[in-house]
């Protein structure tokens, strides 16, 4: 399969460390994944896991593929419980990237959607960017602090109630990947203040390739999109009011 743009096969786990419900691990990088941009992701599955693979963003490709997975359920837990040297099935790289902009950026993310925006912060490493981590509990704050230490990026912690105020004195351009309730606040703030930006969308996925039509996300224009046709879209395009991209979010 090596001539293909997207790799599908087994890769070894090079390192893996779970702290505070977040597993940070490195995988052997298939050649296709080297140079993957922020926003791009892979589908990963451990043999002991549930039927479908799970989409996880590529945080970095230095020293192997760096992935940060918040452990929600059976899929991410099976990946986290695998030992160094075990193999996972990997399909990727998939998806588009955040735009490459010269302007300073405000990035907003939370624990459940952290990989894509963390990748952007790691790729840019600009002192005039702001990486805003939304956390509402002490354990979330600890996990995010640790993730940012692993990725070696500075960040600002805010609660979901503080997001709009915190945005006021940050760079105008936005890049977000957060749960729908927070995304809606950021989207409304951006519309009210004429701030441009992009959002990385999430949905239940299966193929990641546009075949199954499972990963639909409502849009404000009416016609829904497939998240795997992104996952990065203009910030004003998605409809975040329904919160129906995750079953019990």
């Amino acid at each position: 399969m090596s001539a293909s743009a997207v790799f599908d096969g087994r890769v070894r786990i090079l390192s893996s460390d779970t702290v505070n419900g977040v597993c940070v691990f490195r995988l052997e990088a298939p050649p296709q994944c080297i140079g993957a941009g922020p926003g791009q992701y892979v589908l990963l599955r451990h043999d002991s896991g549930p039927f479908l693979p799970r989409p996880l963003s590529i945080v970095s490709d230095e020293g192997g593929l760096l992935i940060a997975a918040n452990l929600w359920g059976a899929g991410t837990s099976a990946i986290a419980s695998a030992s160094v040297g075990d193999t996972l099935n990997l399909t990727g790289p998939l998806g588009n990237t955040f735009s490459d902009t010269q302007e300073p950026l405000t990035m907003v993310t939370d624990l459940s959607h952290v990989g894509g925006v963390l990748a952007l912060a790691v790729a840019r490493r600009r002192p005039d960017d702001v990486l805003m981590m939304v956390a509402d509990s002490a354990s979330e704050r600890r996990s995010l602090d640790r993730l940012c230490a692993v990725a070696d990026v500075c960040h600002r912690l805010v609660s979901s109630n503080e997001v709009e105020n915190a945005l006021a004195d940050c760079p105008a351009r936005l890049a977000i990947s957060v749960k729908d309730s927070v995304a809606l606040k950021v989207q409304r703030f951006a519309a009210a203040h004429g701030r441009p930006g992009e959002a990385l969308l999430h949905a239940m996925m299966a193929c990641g390739l546009g075949a199954c039509h499972a990963c639909v996300h409502p849009m404000r224009g009416g016609t829904p999109v497939l998240v795997c046709d992104g996952p990065v879209f203009d910030l004003q395009a998605p409809d975040f009011t329904h919160n129906h991209n995750w079953v019990a979010a």
Partner: protein
């Protein structure tokens, strides 16, 4: 494409008896492997006119498989023929186009339009509600199967494959109805109706009910293949939960001439490529020993 292992199923020549199941393979898979390597290509079901499909969530895991309620989003048959079909046929393998509709006349109009194109066969997805008979799925009612397949046979110049449903208690009856009215092959079958709920008992799909596929469907599909193969002389394509070479061989032993693979491709895009390679390797070894 023909070779030493070529089989002909329902009027279509196949390099190996392993086909994609409609709705699980897309043009995007060509980014993972050359779609030209597959024995045939089967796009997602096309509807008469454009429609969006069901809202999210559309898919959930259950019982070791998947339950989906995608709702067949479609650009409609005219757009499909003008824009999508040439992209599929460009890969080389025979293209089998799956269609569905709410009335026999709509089915027939789509088959007539496709007969004027390069398709190798048309697959009639008979799991849609029959709007002229109170919304009961065509495939559950032998008379409805006969009217849909019969209407299509009158206008078809390409082979018609009828895709049946595992929801039928007596699968031989709709199978015979399809065989008697002009089908060239039968697919057994589509997904099994299911109602997944979360731990608190709440529905998890926006559409509430959906179709179960993957490993839990496999023994159900085997039963249907067995009964249908014994009831009609037509070739039967076994579909439901096929993942391994052992599954393929068991489907053949039950009476299938070929298999369709769906959920396994969602689990791993190259699953079919591996299955075909294993099938070919074993067939070569068998041929060499004979």
């Amino acid at each position: 494409m023909s070779g030493p292992l070529t089989v002909t199923v329902g009027g279509v020549s196949l390099r190996a008896p392993v086909l994609p199941a409609s709705g699980t393979l897309g043009l995007g898979h060509n980014r993972v492997f050359d779609l030209g390597l597959l024995p045939a290509l089967v796009p997602k079901t096309v509807m008469p006119t454009a429609r969006e499909g069901h809202p999210a969530p559309r898919l959930v895991e259950a019982a070791g498989g998947i339950v989906n309620a995608i709702g067949i989003p479609s650009g409609g048959i005219t757009t499909f023929i003008a824009q999508d079909l040439p992209r599929w046929t460009a890969f080389g393998p025979p293209v089998i186009v799956s269609v569905s509709a709410g009335t026999p006349d709509e089915f027939a109009a789509m088959v007539e339009a496709l007969s004027a194109t390069e398709v190798a066969a048309v697959e009639l997805n008979l799991s849609c509600p029959n709007l002229e008979e109170g919304g009961k799925a065509f495939a559950l009612d032998p008379h409805a199967v006969a009217s849909a397949v019969g209407a299509c046979s009158k206008v078809a110049t390409v082979p018609l494959w009828a895709k049946l449903t595992p929801n039928a208690q007596e699968p031989a009856e709709p199978a015979r109805a399809a065989a008697d009215t002009g089908a060239a092959a039968l697919i057994a079958g589509n997904t099994l109706l299911a109602f997944p709920r979360d731990a608190a008992g709440a529905p998890v799909l926006a559409n509430r009910t959906g179709g179960l596929s993957g490993p839990p469907l496999y023994p159900v599909a085997l039963r249907h293949v067995d009964e249908i193969a014994r009831a009609t002389p037509l070739p039967v394509i076994g579909c439901g939960g096929v993942r391994t070479l052992g599954n393929v061989k068991a489907m053949m032993a039950a009476g299938a001439s070929a298999v369709s693979v769906g959920s396994a491709t969602l689990q791993r895009p190259t699953a079919m490529i591996d299955l075909i390679a294993q099938w070919e390797a074993e067939a070569m070894t068998r041929a060499a020993a004979e």
